[in-house]
Subunit: 175 residues, 2 copies
């Protein structure tokens, strides 16, 4: 099973940092990759690729395809679409069904406004609290639950740098 | 037991959106308030107060005190300090000890660089994965774990607006 994150509504330069945080969160919590739709943000893609090179793993990052065609293609191939939104169903009520479902998973996170159409296209609209929140923390919490709270101590293969957990300090080793 | 979030290293305008996401995440996941240290960002404080007015709850937001004196005062009053950092101890290994500890909790989240001193001042340096991640998702995941995954369906008192969970749509009721 593959899980990718689709980031929609990214605008340069307004969303540079938030989208970077979305990508780092996706990678750290076990997603296989991220697709930034509709905008070719070379600099952002390079930033994330450089993190992958240094800290390891197989995380893929791609930018520029239209969100509509990315979702349509995903669904045609049998994949499921989960849209994170404060308007959706509370995570605890739907997570079991999402986990049990077959097919690869696409987790969609929007910027401030998302196209209304998306609510109909998604297999699940999922709320990480029905409160105004951040797509960054919503994504992190969703992935943590989806992977059954098991991704917080995973080590990444092919890392040049590895952080060694410390009680009071900073320790990094290079391979 | 009170839990507040201390946001350090906030810069105007660079961090406006990230710090806003920190505040929204803190409120949505059950913190009692946030303190933005060292900078008086009136606009940001007003944005968060307006969310509280509309969506309810008792969340407090304050800006401008020095982070050093805020931490010193917190510790003098018997409170505990948890610093979220990729260099710290993995959350699953320390969360039980943090939950069991007495005293109010202050959860510190920094921007890109944090003063080295903080690693010594904190009672716990806690990593939400030992990978580059976002302080926004790190905070969300920490609070979700701290409150035992119980805060995702809480309703907030005194709300003018309330989102009604929907499978495919957007529904908001006003009081």
């Amino acid at each position: 099973m593959r899980l990718v994150v689709l980031r929609i509504g990214h605008r340069i330069p307004r969303d540079n940092r938030i989208t970077t945080h979305v990508c780092l969160t996706a990678r750290a919590l076990g997603a296989d990759g991220v697709l930034i739709s509709d905008v070719r943000d070379r600099e952002l893609v390079d930033t994330i690729k450089s993190v992958v090179r240094r800290f390891g793993g197989e995380f893929q990052v791609e930018a520029g395809r239209s969100w509509r065609s990315a979702i349509a293609e995903w669904k045609r191939a049998g994949g499921k679409v989960i849209h994170l939104t404060a308007y959706g169903m509370p995570l605890p009520r739907v997570i079991h069904e999402v986990r049990r479902s077959r097919g690869d998973k696409m987790v969609v996170v929007g910027a401030e406004k998302v196209p209304g159409e998306l609510y109909g296209l998604a297999d699940w609209n999922v709320a990480i609290t029905n409160q105004p929140i951040s797509e960054v923390s919503a994504l992190g919490i969703f992935l943590d639950w989806f992977f059954d709270h098991s991704r917080l101590e995973v080590s990444f293969p092919h890392a040049e740098l590895r952080i060694v957990p410390s009680e009071h300090g900073k320790r990094v080793v290079s391979s």
